[in-house]
């Protein structure tokens, strides 16, 4: 009995020591954790049903490390492009000013800051400069008055030109565009602004777009952000602006990888079918994707549908290999990361079902839902309200089905939200607000926008 007790004590003390040691080791490991992006390639089910050829969803996940606290973060070159057209008058312009000052306060002395305002014309009120003379800049910002038209294109162009003054240096370049109205001077087609974004990203300039109120063109704003790899936000009233600017700056100050490129190589007998939610290139056995920037602790992923050949039960094959290359902004070095996915096959249906990777299924469904939302917008634009509502409701039902199957709260909540949205559209038609919510949400989902 006493022996047993002593044994028991010994075991307990051994485990205690083990726990302490492992904690120390873990802690040390966490501290020295390399600032490296990890790449995972997963299928929706770890075990696939054996038999005929089948389509499988691949999720290529990039796990960004947290920004290392002991290394100086990369400097930021931020241009705020603010709408001061007549419609901004009142609380909107006041909140925009507050937001601009909030953003300025979050910058460090070495960061570069500029402010461009636009109405019918475009004015640079704070030329690119270090965020040192804060009081002077705040004073200038507070003198902004709203009136005139909306020269959005000119504003972004001018903002870009302020950014370009420091383009050669290793900054994180970012334009934050704020608008509450339709661009009525300068190009105004979403496609045109998209092209501007596509050109700016070649110079490593991203444009984040913030739409205020329900009168701006969400397609234009989303396209500009998408093509330049910025974020996009919709705020109904001006009061959310300081929070949004703060969140956006949190992202910008937290970039841990730049120029992220993913090349997925498939074995000979696996065929690429489709890229879901992202733009990319399928070159035979290779799939090329660009993701541009990763923020600290962000999980960004791509979903790809591939076709797998006939298989025997019990066999195991390599499905895909993903090679990630990116620039580490902390040391300006090119870094690489690789992820490989294997799949085994089984005829046991239970085993297959059990191996479901809920995360992949969930993200896949959410992305399909984002696409459904975009389709609904398109349908409603064509005047097909009923079809749009049906599209949304179908997508909601599907989300609900998966949500209850895997007991996932996020899916269920998303389904509920969408149903409410669909019913609203059914009752009142596609309101400006609904359209903006759908457009912005689908964008944020497809691009895994961190702050929302």
């Amino acid at each position: 009995m006493a022996q047993a007790k002593r044994n028991y004590q010994r075991i307990v003390s051994f485990f205690a020591v083990l726990i302490v040691v492992s904690l120390i080791v873990l802690n040390a490991w966490a501290r020295t954790e390399p600032t490296k992006v990890l790449c995972r390639v997963e299928t929706d089910r770890a075990v696939l049903p054996a038999g005929n050829s089948q389509n499988v969803v691949l999720k290529i996940t990039l796990d960004a490390p947290p920004a290392p606290s002991h290394i100086k973060r990369p400097l930021v070159n931020l241009a705020l492009v603010l709408d001061q057209s007549g419609s901004m008058n009142g609380s909107k312009i006041e909140q925009a000013k507050a937001a601009a000052i909030e953003a300025l306060n979050r910058l460090g002395l070495q960061d570069v800051f500029s402010v461009v305002v636009y109405d019918t014309n475009v004015h640079t009120i704070v030329p690119a400069q270090n965020a040192r003379n804060i009081q002077g800049i705040i004073h200038t910002i507070q003198r902004i008055r709203a009136n005139g038209s909306t020269a959005l294109f000119g504003g972004v162009s001018q903002g870009a030109s302020e950014i370009r003054k420091n383009l050669e240096n290793n900054y994180i370049h970012r334009i934050v565009l704020l608008s509450d109205g339709l661009a009525n001077v300068g190009p105004r087609m979403p496609e045109d602004l998209g092209r501007l974004g596509a050109a700016l990203i070649k110079e490593n300039i991203s444009v984040t777009t913030v739409g205020v109120g329900t009168d701006y063109n969400e397609d234009l704003m989303a396209r500009l952000a998408q093509k330049s790899d910025g974020n996009t936000y919709f705020v109904e009233s001006g009061y959310d602006l300081p929070r949004i600017f703060s969140a956006e700056l949190g992202d910008v100050l937290n970039v841990v990888a730049k120029k992220v490129k993913v090349i997925i190589t498939l074995p000979d007998d696996v065929k690429a079918i489709n890229i879901i939610g992202r733009e990319g290139r399928i070159k035979g056995r290779q799939i090329e994707l660009y993701m541009n920037q990763l923020y600290g602790d962000q999980e960004k992923y791509a979903l790809v549908e591939v076709n797998i050949p006939k298989s025997k039960s019990g066999s195991k094959i390599k499905i895909a290999q993903a090679d990630v290359t990116y620039e580490n902004p902390f040391n300006q070095k090119q870094e690489k990361s690789t992820g490989i996915s294997y799949a085994s096959f089984s005829s046991d249906k239970k085993k297959v079902a059990k191996s479901t990777n809920i995360d992949v299924v969930k993200e896949y469904q959410l992305n399909l839902n984002a696409l459904a939302q975009e389709k609904a917008i398109e349908l409603s634009d064509k005047g097909k309200k009923k079809e749009a509502v049906r599209e949304l409701k179908q997508s909601a039902a599907k989300l609900k089905q998966y949500g209850s199957l895997y007991k996932d709260d996020q899916l269920l909540k998303e389904a509920d939200d969408l149903e409410v949205q669909a019913e609203m559209i059914e009752d009142e038609g596609m309101s400006k607000k609904s359209r903006k919510i759908l457009r912005t949400k689908s964008y944020q989902r497809k691009n895994q926008q961190l702050s929302q």
Binding site: F153, Q158, P187, A198, L200, I282
Partner: protein, 574 residues
């Protein structure tokens, strides 16, 4: 009458030139305004032209540069270089390689291309499928061909957009200075191609403005060797525009705008703070160049003209207005003074004759009675008494008259001195009435006296007050005419003493009531008037009373007749 005519003539002489001057000045001003407007519009369109030339030059330079860079590409690694270029150069939207076997080498049709590349292929389908030659607009025989996928219009000046390999021109030297910085390609090694007959260097190139779905795209292509591939780029128009608008000059004039418009009349950029309406007609339109077909710069001006020029008109009009007002008011002042002088002169003449007349009447009586008494023909004691009393009363009247004239002179010069003594107004009134009762009764007038109970102590100049009251009494006797009585009222009102002297004569006509206190004024101003008078009495009376801090005013009697009221400060405390 002649005077009136001369005044009219004076005014005519004065007004006509002023008006003519005003009209001429106004016309000149509005001409000046128009001239200013025209010159401002001219300056604006001049600016528009300069801008359009700059844009043309920039676009041309960019295209020349890109052509040169394309030609300099290493032919061995063409595809790799082009793709790299597309990924890094914001001016490059798409790249393509078209081989001599008439097929598209890059981008590849299908899933291997991005959506953008697929759209690119669709856009240029007729070119990239080989149906249309790249140099189609260089060969006149091809010009009539109707090409599917191309819009109705091609640039009017195709010669401009298609060039042989540009030589080192002065324009190219400008590249270094040009605002749109060309990303220069890494200098490739001289190519290793042997100059065989099939690899004969021809270095053809061109830029094609291409319309698809009513939108402009610009494609540049080169062919270095006769049998080599045709390759090139699609220009990123938005980058070009984005860079161009930054250097758009700022317009400081209010009410003007320079607008860069695309082929569909959409505003691409605006300078100047006028909110230009796309539906409005611009005052000037300048086409940019064949490189950007149908793009133009339009100048807009506010409906009401230039604000600055309008300011000029306003200020000039105000100055002119002040000038005219000054002249006219000067004229009016002069006329008034002249009229016043004429009136004064007339009144003085009338005054002199009235005074002479006034003086003459008592003098005549005095002299006549004095001579009668001197001749001692009047024996009757009573008659002698009457004559003497007439002489006394007439000399009294004469004295008063002369006093009035003297006082008038003193009052006018402000030299009259007053001697203040305290006395009772009621006693004073009774004395006056007693002294003059005979005179009044002789005129057949009854004396009515109404004195309210109370103390009527005053402290003022006794003689001056007497003079005033006698003047009023004289007037009453003089003008009572057919009347029956003269009424004296003494009472208090608001602590002041009121002395009313009223008659029931014909009264004063309403329109004359304001005038009677003016000096020299007489209701009947003609020399032949029934009643003699200098026209000074009331004027002097009011002047004296006001000097003594009281007042004198007129009040018509109910029915007919008139009342003159003297208001004085009561010196007693009750």
């Amino acid at each position: 009458m002649t005077r009136k005519r001369s005044i009219i003539v004076f005014w005519a002489l004065f007004l006509v030139p002023t008006l003519i001057m005003a009209v001429v000045a106004f016309k000149l001003l509005s001409h000046e305004q128009e001239r200013l407007n025209t010159s401002a519009i001219l300056a604006l369109s001049e600016r528009a032209k300069t801008i359009s030339e700059t844009i043309h030059l920039t676009v041309e330079t960019v295209q020349d540069n890109l052509t040169q860079s394309l030609l300099d590409l290493n032919q061995d690694r063409l595809k790799k270089n082009l793709i790299e270029w597309e990924q890094t150069n914001p001016l490059v939207r798409n790249v393509f390689i078209f081989t001599k076997t008439q097929s598209l080498e890059y981008p590849v049709r299908g899933m291997e291309s991005t959506l953008e590349e697929r759209r690119f292929i669709t856009r240029y389908d007729s070119l990239l499928s080989g149906r249309v030659k790249f140099d189609f607009h260089q060969d006149p025989s091809n010009e009539g061909v109707n090409i599917k996928g191309m819009a109705d219009s091609y640039p009017d000046s195709n010669d401009d957009s298609v060039k042989k390999k540009p030589k080192k021109s002065s324009r190219q030297k400008l590249v270094a200075l040009s605002k749109v910085q060309q990303k220069t390609m890494p200098q490739e090694e001289e190519n290793n191609f042997l100059e065989g007959p099939e690899n004969q260097s021809i270095e053809q190139s061109g830029w094609i403005p291409w319309f698809s779905e009513n939108r402009l795209y610009i494609l540049g292509w080169v062919q270095k060797y006769k049998n080599g591939p045709i390759y090139g780029i699609e220009l990123e128009l938005m980058t070009l525009l984005s860079r161009l608008v930054i250097d758009f000059p700022v317009l400081s004039e209010k009410g003007t705008a320079l607008v860069l418009m695309d082929g569909n009349g959409n505003f691409m950029h605006q300078s100047g703070n006028l909110k230009a309406d796309p539906k409005e007609k611009p005052v000037e339109v300048v086409s940019i160049s064949g490189l950007l077909p149908h793009w133009r710069i339009a100048a807009f001006v506010d409906d009401k003209g230039f604000t600055s020029a309008r300011g000029f008109l306003y200020i000039s009009a105000i100055l002119l207005g002040i000038f005219i007002v000054a002249i006219v008011s000067g004229g009016i002042l002069l006329t008034r003074l002249t009229l016043q002088n004429i009136k004064d002169a007339r009144q003085k003449t009338s005054f002199v004759s009235s005074v002479s007349h006034e003086l003459k009447t008592p003098l005549t009586s005095i002299r006549m009675y004095a001579e009668l008494l001197l001749s001692k023909r009047v024996k009757d004691e009573n008659k002698t008494q009457t004559y003497l009393s007439v002489i006394v009363s007439e000399s009294g009247r004469l004295t008063r008259l002369i006093n009035n004239v003297l006082d008038f002179g003193k009052l006018e010069q402000g030299q009259k001195k007053y001697l203040h003594t305290a006395f009772k107004m009621d006693q004073f009134l009774y004395q006056i009435i007693e002294a003059h009762s005979i005179r009044i009764q002789n005129q057949g007038l009854k004396i009515i006296t109404e004195v309210e109970k109370g103390k009527y102590g005053v402290k003022t100049d006794h003689d001056a007050i007497e003079q005033v009251v006698l003047n009023l009494l004289d007037n009453a006797i003089k003008y009572a005419g057919e009347g029956l009585f003269i009424k004296f009222v003494l009472k208090k009102e608001d602590g002041d003493i009121l002395l009313k002297i009223c008659d029931d004569g014909p009264g004063v006509p309403k329109e004359q009531q304001d005038m009677i206190f003016k000096k020299f004024h007489r209701v009947d101003n003609s020399l032949t008037s029934k009643q003699p008078g200098s026209g000074l009495g009331l004027s002097i009376a009011r002047q004296i009373i006001r000097d003594l801090k009281g007042d004198l005013f007129f009040e018509p009697m109910p029915g007919n007749g008139s009342c003159f009221i003297v208001r004085m400060k009561n010196h007693d405390s009750d």
